[in-house]
Amino acid sequence: MSDLAMTASVPPPRRRHLLPWLYLAPAILTLGLWIYWPLIDAFRLSFYEWNMLPTAEPKFVGWQNYENIFALQKFWQSLNNTVIYVVGLWPLAVLLPLAIAIYTHDLPRRSRNVYRAIIFVPLIIAPVVAAAVWRWLLDPRYGLVNEGIGTLGYRAVRFLQDPKIAIWTIIVLTGWKLIGFSTLILSAANANINPSLIEAARMDGATRWAVIRDVRLPLLRSTVLFLTLMTILLGAQWSFSYIQVLTGGGPLGATTNIFYILWDFGFSSLSVGWSSAAAVILFLGFGLLAFILFRLIDRYSFHDN
């Protein structure tokens, strides 16, 4: 794998030890200063009560912040919503793209390239821009979507104001950004399947569905697992900008998730301790989840090469 590593040059031993670290220094300093040191600092701050004002002195409160957060209904609501975000996003980020990728496999290359160019666009549009445009499209009074609903004779839907609907709206908007990209990834993986395998299955008299079930899906398993993993770990994070711009976590906390609540505690309520305690909980939970998922993926993914 790292054959280059063996070719270490022959300058005097001490310099040889120092040299790689010199090359690494800028990266290590940046990542250390802005990611790992702050992570440790977040642990420390989670035991203090402080409002971020330079004039106020941080006060040590022990586990108080954690106790307060666990007693807070809003916190459990945000955790619950985080699960809804992930579960709701999965069909849009994995299942639907999988179906589309398999179904459109036989399209001629020319048109497939055109579609591909188009469905990729949402991914490069800035989240704030996407939020602004969707806010306009979904406006209860003047938005195009509600105009359409009105023409059909139904009452306007308050997509972002109705506590029952708002979270699903945010999920669909997050999915809008991902669906084309996932479709491309899965199409690429699907096209990578050796055609002779499909041909052989057909020779054996397999139906179209049987080919999909017995040949394609097993071969796509690692890509599907990877996309699922990303959705579970990052799905709720992707929706942050939409929540921040469109609903502010409301109405009635209906769209808050664990990432948003950190921001809410920290920069709306100016409670450093609460935000840091929630950050520590998030980080540990997130890490544990990632560890378990990677273990599972290692066991169940299909290694065809």
């Binding site: 070719t7 670290w21 800028p26 802005w34 800035a126 890509t223 711009v245």
Partner: protein, 294 residues
């Protein structure tokens, strides 16, 4: 980075669709439905962007018009948006931040990747793992300490604060390290025989051969920095020292939204990215797919 192997190969050589499936009559119906599915998906993906541009070009008194076609294009919304906030300045700031971050990440990435690829040293695996694990730390977790750091450095409301945390990025380091590992060692051997020092080997032998990876990374880093919202949101105080994403947000107030100017500002913020995409479409798609989801 698991996705890399699954994706990069087929992108280059998509096998043509099996002719047998297309020749049959039943196949033709399936193809028609497949087209339909893709057309619907395409409209879903592209229409909001189209609607943004169309709305931005409507005369202000026709902003609530719902005709799908622009009627009587006008630049009034643009004029209004440009007067309301310093958009040109903000676009300039965004360009500066994105360009500096892109170049910085490429340089720090090349240096770090070279260290990993070229030498075995005590702690190399550990440091590499730490770099790879940075994505496990969501930005929201470190935002307060980062914010305090910026504030202690006296850099609130400055462009340098937007740049500093991004001077190095895990993605750049890992992608470059991967690319360097597959670099033929004979070439480096030969350069070393000729007496080249490690510094010169990096810039004169290795770097010119990594052009593809470097271009991919440049596209990725530039676009994601251009679109970044959260970090500027924490830091910005005055519009003059902020980026365009914050400018867009300024048109959405609790009192009501100026839809026309909002769409005009959004269009202006997206144009540079859309321009890059139209010119370099293939490369952009490949870069994103190679890197997995960001």
């Amino acid at each position: 980075m698991t996705i890399d192997s699954a994706v990069s190969a087929p992108l280059r050589s998509m096998p043509a669709a099996s002719p047998r499936a297309r020749a049959k009559g039943k196949g033709r119906a399936t193809t028609a439905i497949a087209h339909l599915v893709m057309v619907i998906l395409s409209i879903f993906c592209l229409f909001p962007v189209y609607w943004m541009v169309v709305s931005s070009l409507r005369p202000p008194n026709e902003i609530y018009d719902t005709s799908l076609w622009p009627t009587g294009a006008s630049l009034d919304n643009y004029a209004y948006a440009l007067k309301a906030i310093p958009i040109v300045r903000m676009l300039g700031n965004t360009l500066v931040v994105s360009t500096v971050v892109t170049i910085a990440q490429l340089i720090t990435g090349l240096l770090a990747a070279y260290a990993f690829a070229r030498w075995r040293f005590r702690g190399d695996k550990f440091v590499y793992t730490l770099v790879a694990l940075t994505w496990l730390v969501p930005f929201q977790v470190v935002m307060i300490p980062d914010y305090l750091l910026v504030s202690n450095l006296g850099l609130l409301d400055s462009l340098s604060a937007l740049i500093l945390p991004h001077l190095a990025g895990a993605l750049a380091i890992l992608m470059l390290a991967q690319a360097m590992r597959s670099f033929p060692r004979e070439v480096i051997e030969a350069a070393r025989m000729d007496g080249a020092r490690s510094w010169r080997i990096l810039w004169e032998v290795i770097m010119p051969n990594l052009r593809g990876t470097i271009a991919s990374l440049a596209i990725l880093v530039f676009i994601s920095t251009w679109n970044e919202y959260f970090w500027p949101l924490l830091l910005s105080r005055s519009p003059e020292n902020s980026v365009i994403q914050i400018g867009i947000q300024m048109f959405m107030t609790s009192e009501g939204t100026a839809w026309g100017p909002l769409m005009a500002a959004s269009t202006m913020a997206s144009l540079p990215i859309l321009f890059i995409y139209i010119v370099l479409q293939r490369q952009v798609v490949q870069s994103f797919m190679k890197s997995g989801i960001r």
